[in-house]
């Protein structure tokens, strides 16, 4: 990739600019967000190898125990260790978020780039289709898929991915169109480069920062949506660990043991907060023009 092609205004495209890490370390929101997100990823990774107890082993004699030295966060109605379940639940959240965002990101990016390069009726068609998906809240789409194909995590992921496509497509189209107007793209055009080449050599490298920021925020939304869908029973199914399903099960025992309804929710809040803060931080760090306006 030739560096001459990138936009000098947008520090942070392609390779990180000099001192990026130093600037990032000084950005308080980014540091907090990064730490929280790191915590979530770490607990998911550790849970692959080790959890304090088995997250699925049922010991009825141990049911609904308050937090103790053995079970730090207590046990649920089947005597399962809550801390272990939360650690393993991070896996589900991360997998769902990753696949849903990649799905939406890849297709949305392709459609958005195409719309920006081609304009005309292709653009119209893409934008009208995305209007349509905007009218349908993700929960409704997931419900439809579930009604047609039966409940399961795959349908939840599909629904979340589908809803992300127009979000990325619109963003990429808007930013892309602005890029096509820029002098360096005009120069490339007059030099005889084709639309495809310009898209890959000049447009794509210059919109990565916008896409990365959106991906972080979409990830957070996907975690919230997965939790809601699993809470409703149309997301991940037993015995897969899931924060949303832990909450729905805990509600039946809310008068006996209210605490078990607190922990999984806290896990969701911290993860989502972390991703959102990190996204906001990245926006400031990658796009100084936006940061100045705030």
């Amino acid at each position: 990739m030739s560096t001459a092609a990138t936009d000098p205004d947008l520090a942070g495209d392609g390779a990180p600019p000099q001192g990026f890490i130093r600037r990032a370390m000084r950005h308080r929101a980014f540091v907090i967000g990064f730490a929280l997100t790191g915590g979530m990823v770490l607990s998911a990774l550790v849970s692959l190898l080790w959890t304090p107890h088995s997250p699925t082993e049922i010991i009825i004699a141990n049911r609904l125990k308050p937090p103790t030295a053995v079970h730090w966060l207590g046990t649920d109605q089947f005597g399962r260790d809550i801390l272990s379940m939360i650690m393993a639940g991070a896996q589900t959240s991360i997998v769902v978020g990753l696949i849903a965002v990649s799905l939406g990101g890849i297709f949305g990016l392709a459609l958005g780039l195409w719309a920006a390069a081609r304009r005309g009726w292709t653009e119209d068609l893409i934008m009208r289709l995305s209007d349509l998906t905007f009218a349908f809240p993700v929960i409704l789409i997931a419900i439809l898929l579930t009604a047609g194909w039966g409940p399961g995590i795959t349908n939840a992921i599909l629904a979340l991915g589908v809803i992300n496509i127009p979000i990325f497509a619109r963003l990429v189209r808007g930013t892309g169109i602005a890029m096509w107007e820029r002098e360096f793209v005009q120069a490339a055009r007059s030099a005889g480069k084709g639309r495809v080449r310009i898209t890959f050599e000049h447009i794509l490298p210059n919109i990565t920062s916008v896409v990365v920021v959106q991906a972080t925020i979409s990830f957070a939304i996907a975690i919230l949506a997965e939790a809601a869908l699993s809470y409703l029973g149309v997301g991940s199914q037993p015995p897969d660990p899931s924060w949303g399903r832990m909450l729905s099960e805990s509600q039946n025992f809310i008068f006996l043991s209210p605490l078990i309804a607190v922990w999984p929710g806290l896990a969701i809040v911290l993860s989502v907060l972390g991703l959102n803060l990190m996204g906001d931080g990245l926006r400031d760090l990658l796009d100084p023009r936006l940061a100045r306006q705030r």
Binding site: L132, A135, F136, A147, G148, I254, P258, I268, V269, V272
Partner: protein, 313 residues
């Protein structure tokens, strides 16, 4: 001209939605009759149900008869309840609509005050407090917030029950009481988004040249805020708030399940569990249509208020 174009898009979008819903539920792999009865059902029963549901007819014919029924206001019979789907939906809206509108109203009030307060105290402690509130509001899953409210008010303080709905015949105030916690729950994340929008819109307008001019000609800070800033900043805010109606409806589906309210959300989940595709199909289309109608009205109102929109599109 703008109105005609916008109305056409609106019609096309609703039509598109109906096609997609139909395709997802009826043409894609999977036999609705078999799903309804379960895999163990005898072949003869499945065959009979297929005939009852009209599944032996070609797909285009089934689609046309569904749409034709919609125009006549006939949505068919619910398979599980054996009552017209229209009746079911009308009944459930008595709970869902007050819930959604109440949350919209509460969130608008909260977010306008917080947003304007934060913008007028830009980069001060109050501003940071509001930003913190909205960050937290965005990160808290609404159904969990509902559970926390139940723990606080039903389990610990024992002021209310943990959910349920008495029905409007049982007295107005008892119903309002039953809707209070759900409305608060639904309004939390909504006010978080709206507050962000309000704050940044007011800040943006406050930077405009005409605001500086107004201050320069000696208008007081307060008068500038009311006469110039808010008047221009709140139009986009109200538009975005209107567009958030889709989120509110989606939210009611979840919240009704938290508080065991017999609304549209409960209806659709019951329908999915019972494989009542007739209900699922129509409820999803009606919810989608409601969102599109609101978006349409918001767009039109926006164009009425701001003539620039009419000219540019």
């Amino acid at each position: 001209m703008f109105l005609a174009r916008r109305f056409l898009t609106f019609l096309v979008t609703i039509w598109g939605a109906s096609v997609i819903i139909f395709l997802m539920l009826e043409v894609l792999p999977g036999d609705p009759a078999l799903t309804m009865l379960g895999v163990d059902a005898p072949d003869s029963a499945v065959e009979a149900l297929r005939r009852d549901l009209g599944l032996d007819r070609p797909a285009t014919e089934r689609y046309l008869s569904w749409i034709g029924g919609l125009f006549r206001g006939e949505l068919g019979l619910s398979y599980t309840y054996q009552v017209p789907v229209t009746e079911l939906i009308a009944q459930r809206l008595e709970v869902t609509l007050p819930l959604a509108l109440g949350a919209m109203l509460l969130a608008t009030l909260v977010s306008l005050s917080l947003g304007i307060f934060a913008a007028t105290n830009h980069n001060k402690v109050g501003d940071y407090g509001v930003i913190g509130f909205s960050q937290l509001g965005l990160a808290i899953p609404d159904f969990w917030f509902g559970i926390l409210l139940i723990i606080l008010f039903a389990v610990i303080l024992q002021w209310t029950s943990s959910g349920g709905f008495p029905g409007w015949d049982e007295g107005f105030w008892r119903c309002i009481q039953a809707l209070l916690l759900p409305v608060f729950t639904l309004a939390l994340s909504l006010s978080a988004i709206m507050t962000r929008v309000t704050r940044s819109s007011v800040l943006e307008v406050a930077r405009e040249d005409y605001v500086r001019t107004a201050r320069a000609k000696g208008l007081s800070r307060r008068a500038t805020l009311w006469r110039h800033v808010l008047r221009n900043a709140l139009i986009p805010v109200l538009t975005i708030n209107g567009l958030l109606f889709a989120n509110v409806l989606a939210g009611t589906i979840v919240i009704e399940n938290v508080f065991a309210l017999p609304g549209i959300g409960k209806l659709i989940f019951g329908a999915i569990t019972n494989r009542d595709l007739m209900v699922v199909k129509n409820v999803v289309l009606i919810l989608g249509a409601m969102v599109m109608v609101v978006n349409f009205i918001v767009d039109v109102l926006y164009a009425v208020v701001d003539p620039r929109i009419r000219i540019h599109t």
